[in-house]
């Protein structure tokens, strides 16, 4: 990895560049993660109680990235705290000696009631600052989110892709005895309930700007789509049509919603504007069409149809209207989710009486398992950077949420003792 790092540095150094950022493919190089040393941030007046908790959240956010491993401060040859944030040079040898690739320094200040986190990142191998000094600020109560934003920016500076520790995951839990919508941080912390209608709620999905959730609810006695906006506005139906609607999925950029609806004796895919207008039917066969997922450019939709006699994946081109079949193997393929960069569709495939997760290349149809052995994995959803997949699994009995990196590393359980958890939906970046 270190050699790759150097090589990439060299290549970049030779290129005239507007942006001083490395674009190293961290995965697939067979190497190790970046080692990042974090000097606890110094504190200005009124901010003395923050450096401890901020350090905890910042290092959690960095570790969550799968890009960095955090160096144990016990190993430091230099102070554990940032002493001179304004210094123009640092003793790079002392950081290299403990195996660090990167060093993070910073200062927390109180500005008009807001908490400001100033920070800088050093590439200690090249002994130069990686990007400019920068700051983010937020309310002091939002320290966790603030620290995670800093972490995600540091991940961007070293990998070219912003981290996702400051994002959120919506999901369904039955812990109250009813399936309700919940929300949590990307790492599984800070869970809170979002709906309380005592009915059945399913399939939360995020709008492109992260400001609105759509979900399926039995609140009014039949399944319908409700939307819930940030703030205190109550949830309301999206479409007034009395037909049953099973799932809504928002377009990756504009306000269009793809949905599964039962109308005229058949379940088909439709699209509709955010306003509830311009309903358009996409599929017309007598079979069941459902589970739409948008390509990242919004020009194609992958979905499930049983027109061949069993549920299989298909792709529809919205402009030409052309549909093509994607999966041919297995008796039951379902729940496709298109990756943010378009390269993969993750889906669940029946193996025996259970499901496992697979990745399929939507261009070639090449298919590879995401998780090889443990059975009972479903409901996969991508992180906005495409590095991670969150899914539900019954491998330990109850259905719980897990995360895994696209390359199969860093499997971790995100929920436990929280009822049965299903239908995870990863938010976009929220600022």
């Amino acid at each position: 990895m270190r050699r790759v790092f150097w090589l990439a540095s060299l290549v970049l150094a030779l290129q005239a560049r507007a942006e001083d950022r490395l674009h190293v493919d961290v995965h697939g190089s067979g190497g190790r993660d970046y080692q990042v040393a974090v000097q606890r941030f110094s504190a200005g007046e009124g901010a003395l109680e923050f450096p401890g908790p901020f350090y905890e959240e910042l290092t959690r956010g960095l570790a969550f990235s799968s890009v960095f491993k955090v160096v144990d401060p016990e190993a430091f040859l230099e102070p554990r705290e940032t002493r001179d944030f304004e210094a123009r040079v640092i003793p790079c040898d002392n950081w290299r000696a403990i195996g660090a690739d990167a060093l993070v320094q910073g200062r927390l200040e109180r500005k008009q009631g807001r908490l400001r986190a100033r920070f800088q990142v050093w590439d200690v191998l090249r002994c130069r600052r990686q990007g400019d000094r920068q700051y983010f600020e937020d309310a002091p109560e939002a320290l966790r989110a603030l620290a995670h934003r800093v972490a995600d920016e540091i991940v961007y500076r070293f990998s070219g892709r912003r981290g996702v520790s400051a994002t959120q995951i919506a999901f369904i839990s039955d812990r109250t005895g009813n399936k309700e919508v919940y929300m949590m941080e990307a790492d599984g912390s800070n869970r809170r309930r979002v709906t309380g209608n005592g009915s059945v709620n399913l399939f939360p999905g995020w709008s492109a700007d992260g400001a609105t959730l759509v979900y399926t609810s039995l609140r009014e006695g039949r399944f319908d789509l409700l939307t819930l906006a940030r703030g205190r506005r109550p949830a309301g139906p999206l479409l007034t049509a009395p037909d049953q609607k099973y799932r809504g999925v928002w377009h990756p950029h504009d306000g269009t919603l793809a949905l599964t609806m039962h109308r005229d004796g058949n379940t088909d895919l439709y699209t509709v504007r955010k306003s509830g207008r311009k309903l358009r039917r996409l599929t017309t066969s007598r079979s069941i069409e459902n589970s739409p997922t948008w390509a990242p450019d919004g020009k194609q939709i992958a979905f499930v149809s049983d027109r061949s006699g069993s549920p299989q994946l298909y792709v529809k081109d919205l402009k030409s209207g052309e549909e093509r079949r994607l999966t041919y193997r297995g008796p039951y393929n379902a729940s496709p989710a298109w990756s943010p960069n378009g390269s993969w569709i993750v889906f669940s495939a029946q193996t025996g009486s259970n499901f496992d997760l697979y990745l399929i290349d939507p261009e070639t149809g090449y298919t590879t398992p995401l998780v090889v052995h443990p059975r009972g994995d479903e409901d996969a959803a991508w992180s906005p950077d495409g590095r991670k997949i969150v899914f539900s699994s019954s491998r330990r009995g109850r259905r719980e949420l897990y995360q895994i990196d696209l390359d199969g590393r860093n499997l971790r359980r995100v929920t436990s003792g929280f009822g049965n958890c299903t239908n995870p939906a990863w938010s976009p970046w929220l600022d």
């Binding site: 709906t195 309380g196 209608n197 906006a229 109550p234």
Partner: protein
């Protein structure tokens, strides 16, 4: 569980009417910029059944119809039970029913919503073919969300792949 959902259904309709179909106030304690807890609080389980239909038949007079895995075709005994249900409807010409299609827990939850609807509609069509006025019968799906019995055995699954007939 069937009763529970039915109860909720009736209550939701009742509450929906009472509030003009709108939703209640959003929950307390929602932070700024947060998603608030959605309007209605738990209605509670008991007392939710209104029993206000005022007719002489109840849902218990109808027979539940069962299906094979991933199928919505009617078996012979299903047709027999549907003929029975049609007879009840003929004898009580004022009664309206809702056919609720259900699936077992296997397969994708979203697909099962559509499959449950197929099961409800195939039964409705059969009743209509037997001369029942289509306006007396509505079909909805609960997918795999309303199992009659808990459990992960074939015996449990077989009892969950069904149409319930509920007097409205």
């Amino acid at each position: 569980m069937v009763r529970k959902i039915l109860g909720y259904t009736l209550l939701a309709i009742a509450v929906g009417c009472a509030t003009g179909g709108g939703s209640g106030p959003s929950g307390e304690g929602a932070g700024r910029g947060e998603f608030g807890t959605e309007g209605r609080s738990d209605p509670g389980l008991e007392g939710a059944r209104t029993g206000s239909t005022g007719v002489e038949v109840s849902s218990a007079d109808f027979r539940t119809v069962y299906f094979d895995f991933d199928e919505s075709a009617l078996r012979e005994e299903a047709k027999r039970d549907l003929r029975h249900n049609a007879q009840v409807l003929r004898e009580q010409s004022k009664v309206r029913i809702e056919i609720q299609g259900n699936c077992d827990e296997r397969g994708a939850a979203e697909y099962n919503l559509a499959l449950g609807m197929r099961r409800a509609e195939v039964a409705k069509r059969y009743l209509v073919d037997l001369g029942i006025d289509a306006r007396r019968v509505t079909a909805i799906s609960f997918g795999e969300e309303n199992p009659a019995v808990r459990g992960h055995s074939e015996a449990a699954w077989a009892r969950n792949r069904r149409d319930d007939f509920v007097v409205r």
